[in-house]
Structure formats: structure tokens, C-alpha cells
């Protein structure tokens, strides 16, 4: 493994554009044969896009630049092409069919057959050989649903091995795993390395990167910032964090002087477990609070439990075995259903507005009135639809929603305007506390500024705003106080004046500093 002189992979000058966004700009990446090469960066920096370019998910021609794999230029048109060459990607969301057996999954699309019929003996025999290589002792005829996520991850790797993988790409492989499974997986990656398999691993977990990576490439805002040799000199986690967040705060945020009043909402010792894997704790003993006129940020990496915390608070919309107390102005309240939460003046604007926020086949009017129809209803529960349209018209103007009329179907609006419709809906419900989950995701810069202005206006009206975001500059630019969340635990609570991107990132990546007494 030490005689690594040649590069197995060279990606040169990769530029990938989506409508309106440059996801990757002139990115180059060299990976040495037999290395474990880590890729780091904030959410949305472009890591996954780069891997999709490499694995043919985005076919050759849909991006600029070239890929040289094993000393020859390659043009992968789809995943089959890249897999035939020995490049296999394992996505964050596992791509296994739950009701098929381990063996069937391993050879899915690559069935072991004789004369057009599946040879089950061969299938199961080959599968058990592959399972042995990844350290799994399970029977290959076991169904996928009957094994845990950690083992499923290993089955994915076995599937990759069946394709004679030379370069294995793992996208956040340990994000969904517990400590033991994570350690096992990292061990396996090292083992594969000794068998000559090169790996690219995308991870947020800096301690893991330190433990197994030979080199790290840092990506920020669609550019490759630097590549660090993990052996050359002792690279600290701080060094990597500096590369990840080293971006200047631009004046992309409206000025705002907060007038902060009494405490509106306080959450104490909040615990949430995963709805399916009920042993996995997603939110651990979290306590947060927000005061009138205050904008509070929650920073956390993907999988830290931000959305889960918010949705479990909002009518137990996520998770099981939820425990903890919620206080509104010092009085304990019951938020166990969405309508109770709304009655107590809590609103939650989702991060996934298409799935959870809007009725995309209906018009702006009916989406805006959606959570407060009662306010428009008169005798016998009939809605005053003229007044309703006037309300929608008011928001169309005051939030500057760009649409031909209030009768426009929301599915046809741009992301920014859809987000404004979602905000209108909750503003009309007139809550005291608004939880905004990634309010600017997928929105262009101009519209972002408008959203920030709206958020400031809401705070000035005396509402408490909790804003969840993946973008540290945004949190630093908008919030008065910021919590950091790491693996479901609140790890810091700082006023804006004391917060820096480095400080936040440090506390967001802090998860592994846990003692053994931590096993709740």
C-alpha cells in the first residue's frame, strides 16, 4: 500500500451547472491508487454532485472537464458504464430492496444465471463468499428488512465487491450507523485498502477522516479549495474546519437591531427516537428556548437531528418515544398534535416545501389560507372566499410574490416564491413562535435577501423565530443567538457577537467526544 506512485483517478476542470446555479466550478481531484481519499465540505458545497459526475449519474456531456480513470479518458454515460469500469458508488440512502434476500440484492441486475434461469445455488454460494469478505456471517437468504442498517451497509459493499470494484465511493457511510457499526465499517474500509481497493469517502465526521484517510480534499461553494496529505504533517481537525468554512461574510444580510423581550418558548430535556429503528436516539436531552423578538439559529450537519427536533416539537410529526417538556411563557403546554401546537401559537415551515409544505396542484389563495381556514369561516363553517382571496392578495403584495394572480397554481412557481407562499401561510395563522426549517434552501440570492427581511420583520412584530440552517454564514448573518446540534445533542449556545464559523463548525462536529456513560 506504500508504493503509491500512480493516480488511479484524475478529474480535471469539472464544471457542472444546474439552471441558475453553478454547482461545481473547475474542480480537479486526484486520487492515488490504494488510498482512502476523504472529501469534506459543508452541506451543499458540491461533494455529492462531484461524485455523481464521477459515477455517471450525470452522464458525460452534461458537464465540462474530463475524467481519467486508470490512465485513460472515460466517458461514463450511466451507472452501468462506471460500474463496468470498476467505479461503484454507495449512496447515503441505501438502494436495497427490503423484501428480497441478501443474495438477491447483491446480484440484483447481475443475476447469476444458466440458460436464462437463475442459478440459486450459485447465487447463494457466491453471496456467502462475498459476505465473508465484508465480515458478515448472516445467511444469504435472510431478507434485507430482517437485518440492521449497519449490516445493510455491509451488504451494499458486498454488492460493490461482486462488481469487481476498483474505486469504491462511499457517501456519508456512517451517517445512519451507531458507534459500533461505524467502527466496524471503517475497519472494513482499511481491510479493503490492503486488498488494493481505492476508496473515496465523503464524511462530516472529522475524527473518522483522521482515523482512516490518507488525503483530504476540501470543497467549498463548488470549488476544490485544497488537498491535504494526512501523513505529511499532523493535520488537526481545526485545520480542516478552517478550510471548510473559510469564507468571507458578505453584506448579504439586511441590518437588524433586535428588541428582545420575555421568554416565549422553552423546551426542556427533549428526547426523540427513530420511528422505525426505535433503539436509535435522534434527539438527546435537548433544551432550547426563544424569546420575543429573538431570532435563534440551530446549526447542525446533515443527520444531526435538526428537522427531527423541530418536527417532533410540532405535534409529534416525527419520531417515537418522545419525552420532554414544552413551556409557553412559563406555562407547560401540550403540543402532541399539530392542531394543538398551532393553537398554542407554534408554526413550523418545513424544509421540504414540495412534500410537506404546499398543495402543489392548488392555487396560492388556498395554500395561504390552509392552516387558518377557521379565521375565514362564517356561519355553518362556510369559507368567505372573497375575503380569502383578498388575504392572499395582501401577501402577494407585501411579500412580493411573483405570480400572475392569487389563482396561480403553486406547483408552477419558482422555489423562492413557493417559500414565500409557505411563509404567508404561517404568517396568516399568526403564531407566536415560528420554526423555519432551511427557509432559503434552493433559492437564489436575491430572494434569500427578501426572506431574511421577512424574518426580521416577524421578529420586530414580537414573534420568536427559530431558524434551522445548513449555511453558517446565513445563521451568523441573521440570528441573534445560535445553538449547535451534533448527533442529536445541543453542544453550544452562543450569542451572535461571540459566534464564529470556526467555533460553530467545531461544535457541530464534536459528536465523538462522548463518554461511555453516554449510552442512554
Amino acid at each position: 500500500m506504500e508504493n503509491v506512485t500512480t493516480n488511479i483517478l484524475e478529474m480535471q476542470g469539472i464544471t457542472k451547472t444546474f439552471p441558475g446555479v453553478k454547482a461545481l466550478q473547475n474542480v480537479s481531484l486526484s486520487v492515488k491508487r490504494g488510498h482512502v481519499h476523504a472529501i469534506c465540505g459543508e452541506n451543499g458545497a458540491g461533494k455529492s454532485t462531484l461524485m455523481k459526475v464521477l459515477s455517471g449519474v450525470y452522464p458525460a456531456g452534461s458537464f465540462d472537464g474530463q475524467i481519467i480513470f486508470e490512465d485513460s479518458k472515460v466517458d461514463f454515460k450511466n451507472i452501468n458504464d462506471s460500474e463496468a469500469a470498476g467505479v461503484v458508488i454507495i449512496h447515503q440512502e441505501l438502494a436495497l430492496s427490503p423484501y428480497l434476500s441478501i443474495a438477491e440484492n447483491i446480484f440484483l441486475g447481475n443475476e447469476q444465471q444458466t440458460r436464462g434461469w437463475i442459478d440459486w445455488n450459485k447465487t447463494n454460494l457466491e453471496a456467502s463468499k462475498l459476505l465473508a469478505r465484508v465480515g458478515l456471517k448472516d445467511n444469504p437468504i435472510t431478507k434485507i428488512t430482517d437485518i440492521g442498517v449497519g449490516k445493510q451497509q455491509l451488504v451494499e459493499i458486498a454488492k460493490a465487491l461482486s462488481k469487481r470494484v476498483k474505486l469504491l465511493i462511499l457517501d456519508e457511510p456512517t451517517a445512519a450507523l451507531n458507534d459500533e457499526d461505524s467502527a466496524h465499517l471503517l475497519e472494513l474500509i482499511k481491510q479493503l485498502q490492503s486488498q488494493g481497493i481505492t476508496s473515496i469517502i465523503i464524511s462530516h465526521k472529522l475524527n473518522e477522516i483522521k482515523a482512516i484517510a490518507d488525503a483530504v480534499t476540501i470543497i467549498r461553494d463548488g470549488r476544490a479549495i485544497e488537498t491535504l496529505d494526512m501523513h505529511a504533517d499532523e493535520i488537526s481537525e481545526e485545520r480542516i474546519i478552517k478550510g471548510m468554512v473559510g469564507r468571507e461574510l458578505e453584506s448579504r444580510y439586511p441590518d437588524h437591531t433586535p428588541t428582545i423581550g420575555e421568554e416565549l418558548l422553552r423546551v426542556e430535556n427533549w428526547n426523540v427516537f427513530h420511528p422505525i429503528d426505535t433503539t436509535r436516539q435522534i434527539v438527546k436531552n435537548a433544551s432550547i428556548s426563544v424569546r420575543a423578538g429573538e431570532i435563534v439559529g440551530i446549526a447542525g450537519l446533515m443527520g444531526a437531528g435538526r428537522t427531527e427536533l423541530a418536527m417532533s416539537l410540532f405535534g409529534k410529526s416525527y419520531g417515537v418515544k418522545i419525552s420532554g417538556k414544552v413551556f409557553k411563557r412559563g406555562v407547560e403546554i401540550d403540543t402532541s398534535t399539530v392542531s394543538k401546537a398551532i393553537q398554542h401559537g407554534i408554526a413550523y415551515a418545513t424544509e421540504d416545501r414540495k412534500r410537506y409544505g404546499l398543495n402543489l396542484i392548488d392555487d396560492i389563495t388556498r395554500n395561504v389560507s390552509g392552516s387558518a381556514l377557521g379565521k375565514l369561516a362564517g356561519l355553518f363553517g362556510f369559507v368567505d372566499d372573497h375575503k380569502e382571496a383578498t388575504v392572499a392578495g395582501k401577501y402577494l403584495k407585501s411579500l412580493n410574490i411573483k405570480a400572475p394572480s392569487v389563482d396561480s397554481i403553486t406547483g408552477k412557481l419558482s422555489g423562492g416564491n413557493q417559500q414565500k407562499v409557505v411563509l404567508s401561510k404561517w404568517m396568516y395563522a399568526d403564531p407566536d413562535v415560528l420554526i423555519l426549517d432551511e427557509p432559503t434552501r434552493g433559492i437564489d440570492v436575491g430572494a434569500k435577501y427578501e426572506i431574511y427581511t421577512i424574518i426580521n420583520r416577524l421578529a420586530d412584530e414580537g414573534k420568536g423565530v427559530i431558524m434551522i440552517s445548513s449555511e453558517l454564514p446565513e445563521l451568523l448573518g441573521v440570528c441573534d443567538r445560535i445553538y449547535t446540534l451534533a448527533e442529536g445533542r445541543i453542544t453550544a449556545n452562543v450569542p451572535r457577537s461571540q459566534a464564529t464559523a470556526e467555533f460553530l463548525m467545531q461544535h457541530m462536529t464534536k459528536e465523538r467526544e462522548r463518554s461511555t456513560s453516554d449510552n442512554v
Partner: protein
């Protein structure tokens, strides 16, 4: 730029009208199809289709499908389906027969009991669908078998007949007639009244929109639609007046249409039904009590099925264990021809009624022409497919994904 604009002004105007009409293609298409079908049969049957007696029969013989279509469209808008309505019709009809002829319960009380029975049937199915979260397809498929069986048990596989005269009027009776010959005045008066209500209601609506400064549909289109609607009502009133007068089921049906159209378009409950069908998750996260709405929808469907069962039994003067078979399919077809979406969130009560009328007209016209039942079924199937294909094509054309 300006010159070319001036030159093309009349063309542009025509194009604007055309583009407005294509925007309303679904509505326009549905009514056009209805008119085309009426004209087609009017010509091929040599005028029998629009004869007063045939129109009267058309209303009476399709009433129960139209009643069922009202409940069905609500269920389908919410993204569910109900396969059990035909069996519920049989079950309720059977119980009506048992109550009236065996238990000697007065028929008005029996009617109330039957409607309550329908509500209980709906509550039973709604419980499994809304709170136990079994797909409606499965629950109502089970219901289809269960209530067919229940009907057979209640009747001990016999038929019950006859029913009291007063009860039968519910299905085949007419409002009392005044005057002995020529046009029956009460029916004419009702027709005029209905069209006046329609015109005033529409004007009030338009005026209110104006008052709130909201955009309304173009005036010519508004007038055209209103004139068409008023003409249709008065024309049908004339036809009915020259035969036996107003069928009682037409009054029931008219009330149901007005009430449920308003509920679906303007009540909080109706809005919640559309919200659930359009995006269940978003509705739940907006505070809509999705389970309760679903439950109530099925209770409502049960009551409507019971009403259809009573009307059908009264009309045939017979409670039979095999009554109502295939009603579920006719009413579902009516809803989809009427423009509802399988995925939920889209559909209207009026659309479902027009869809039901189209099916009724096809049945009626083909029977007059002597088309065999095998061909009737084949043609109805093709019409359903064509209507939905038109919908899908229309959606793709306007760029919906």
C-alpha cells in the same frame, strides 16, 4: 414592434378568447361532450331522446347513480375509493324491506332508520380506513362482500315486494300537479325559480369579487355560461312540464347537488378534503385533522349510499339481494369522466353529475337504438378511457408534471 401589434390586434383578440377557452378546456370539453352526445342520440333515435317521457325516465332511472356519484367524488378527491356502494345499496334496500313489510314500521321512520344504518356502515368502513390505516381499496372491497352477504342474509335470499304506495313515490313519484292538460304550472314555476336563483347567485358572486377588487372571468364568458345554464334548466322544466311534472327524486337530487357543491367549494370541511387529496403530509402539517376528515367522508358516503338504496328500492318496488350490483363501477366511472384525478385533490360535484349524465345518456340512447348490452359495456368502457386520456393529455399540454 408597435406596428405589428396594431396589425394583429383583431387576431390577437381572437387568440385571447381561444386561449381562455383552452384554459377552461376541461369544463368546456365536458359540456361539449354532453351536448354532442345528446345531439347524436337525438338524431339517430329520430327525436325520441328529447321526448318529454324519455327525459323524465332518464332523470328517474339515473337518479341513484347520480346520488352515488356525489358521495363518490368526495371520496375520490380525498384520494380514496369506495367499492362497496353497490352492496350497501342492496343491504339498505333489504333492511328497508324487512322493516316495512316484516316489522311493520311506518315508512317515514324506516327511512330515517335506514339512513342511520347507512351512517353506521360508513362509520365501520371509515374506522378501518382512517384510524386503522388500511387502504380504502381493501376495506371497501371487503365491504362489498360483507354487505352483499348481509343483504342476502337479511332477505334470506328472497325478494320483498310490494312496498306501500307512499314509499314508492320516493323513487318514481311526481310532485302534485296542477292543471290537467298542457304544461304543468308547478314544474314551470320551479324551473323559472331555479334559473332566477342561478342568475342572482352568479351576479352576487361576481359583484362580490368586484367589490374585493378581484379578477373575474371575462364578461362574455360569464354571460354565455349563465345563459346556457338558465336555458338548460328552463328547457328541461318545459319538457318535464309537458309530461307528468317534476319527479320527486329530481328535487332530492337538486338539493343534494346544491348543498354538496357548496360544501366542497366553500366549507372548511370541503377545503380540507381537497387539501388531503392534494398533499396529505402538507395538510397534516397545516393542522388539518386528516383522520377525522377521512372518517366523516366515509360516514357521509354511507348515508348517501343508503339514500340511493332507498330510492332504488322505491323505484323498483322491490328489495332484492342482487340489487345495486355494478353501481360502484358506474358511479366511479361518472366521477372520472367528470374530471376527477385518480391521485386525488382534483374533481367537482358538478363534474361528477355531468359525468353521470353522460353515462346515463349512453345507456338510454343505446337501449333505444337497440344496441346489445355487450356493445353498451364496450362503448362505455371506451368513453371512460377516452375521457381520462383527454385529461392526461390536457395536463401534459399545459406543462403539469
Amino acid at each position: 414592434m408597435t406596428t405589428s401589434n396594431e396589425v394583429t390586434k383583431p387576431v390577437g383578440e381572437a387568440r385571447k378568447i381561444l386561449s381562455y377557452l383552452t384554459g377552461q378546456l376541461r369544463q368546456v370539453g365536458l359540456f361539449s361532450a354532453l351536448i354532442v352526445i345528446v345531439l347524436f342520440f337525438q338524431i339517430t333515435t329520430h327525436g325520441i331522446t328529447l321526448r318529454p317521457i324519455n327525459v323524465s325516465n332518464l332523470v328517474i332511472q339515473n337518479s341513484y347513480i347520480l346520488i352515488l356519484a356525489i358521495g363518490m367524488v368526495m371520496v375520490i378527491i380525498a384520494g380514496h375509493i369506495d367499492l362497496s356502494v353497490g352492496s350497501v345499496v342492496a343491504f339498505v334496500g333489504a333492511m328497508a324491506g324487512v322493516m316495512i313489510t316484516e316489522w311493520h314500521i311506518a315508512w317515514p321512520i324506516a327511512i330515517v332508520l335506514c339512513l342511520i344504518l347507512g351512517a353506521l356502515v360508513g362509520a365501520w368502513q371509515g374506522f378501518w380506513i382512517a384510524y386503522f390505516r388500511i387502504p380504502a381499496f381493501i376495506v371497501t372491497l371487503a365491504g362489498m362482500l360483507v354487505f352483499r352477504g348481509a343483504a342476502q342474509i337479511a332477505l334470506q335470499n328472497q325478494q320483498i315486494s310490494p312496498f306501500p304506495e307512499a314509499f314508492r313515490r320516493l323513487g318514481s313519484g311526481f310532485l302534485p300537479s296542477f292543471g290537467t292538460s298542457g304544461y304543468e304550472p308547478l314544474t314551470l314555476a320551479l324551473g323559472v325559480l331555479a334559473s332566477i336563483v342561478l342568475i342572482f347567485g352568479s351576479l352576487r358572486q361576481r359583484w362580490a369579487r368586484h367589490k374585493y377588487g378581484l379578477e373575474s372571468e371575462p364578461l362574455w364568458w360569464f354571460v354565455l355560461k349563465l345563459a346556457f345554464g338558465a336555458f338548460l334548466i328552463i328547457y328541461i322544466a318545459f319538457l318535464l312540464a309537458s309530461y307528468n311534472g317534476t319527479p320527486i327524486v329530481l328535487v332530492i337530487l337538486g338539493l343534494l347537488i346544491v348543498i354538496y357543491a357548496a360544501v366542497m367549494a366553500r366549507s372548511v370541511f370541503g377545503r380540507h378534503v381537497y387539501a388531503i387529496g392534494g398533499n396529505l403530509h402538507a395538510a397534516a402539517l397545516s393542522g388539518v385533522k386528516t383522520q377525522r376528515v377521512t372518517f366523516l367522508l366515509f360516514v357521509n358516503m354511507g348515508v348517501i349510499s343508503a339514500l340511493a338504496g332507498l330510492v332504488f328500492t322505491a323505484q323498483l318496488n322491490l328489495a332484492s339481494p342482487s340489487a345495486g350490483s355494478g353501481f360502484e363501477l358506474d358511479s366511479i366511472a361518472a366521477v372520472f369522466i367528470g374530471g376527477a384525478a385518480v391521485t386525488g385533490g382534483i374533481g367537482t360535484v358538478t363534474g361528477a353529475i355531468v359525468g353521470g349524465l353522460i353515462i346515463g345518456l349512453l345507456n338510454n340512447g343505446m337501449s333505444i337504438l337497440g344496441v346489445g348490452t355487450e356493445y353498451q359495456s364496450l362503448i362505455k368502457g371506451l368513453v371512460l378511457l377516452a375521457a381520462v386520456a383527454f385529461d392526461v393529455y390536457n395536463k401534459r399540454r399545459t406543462g403539469g408534471r
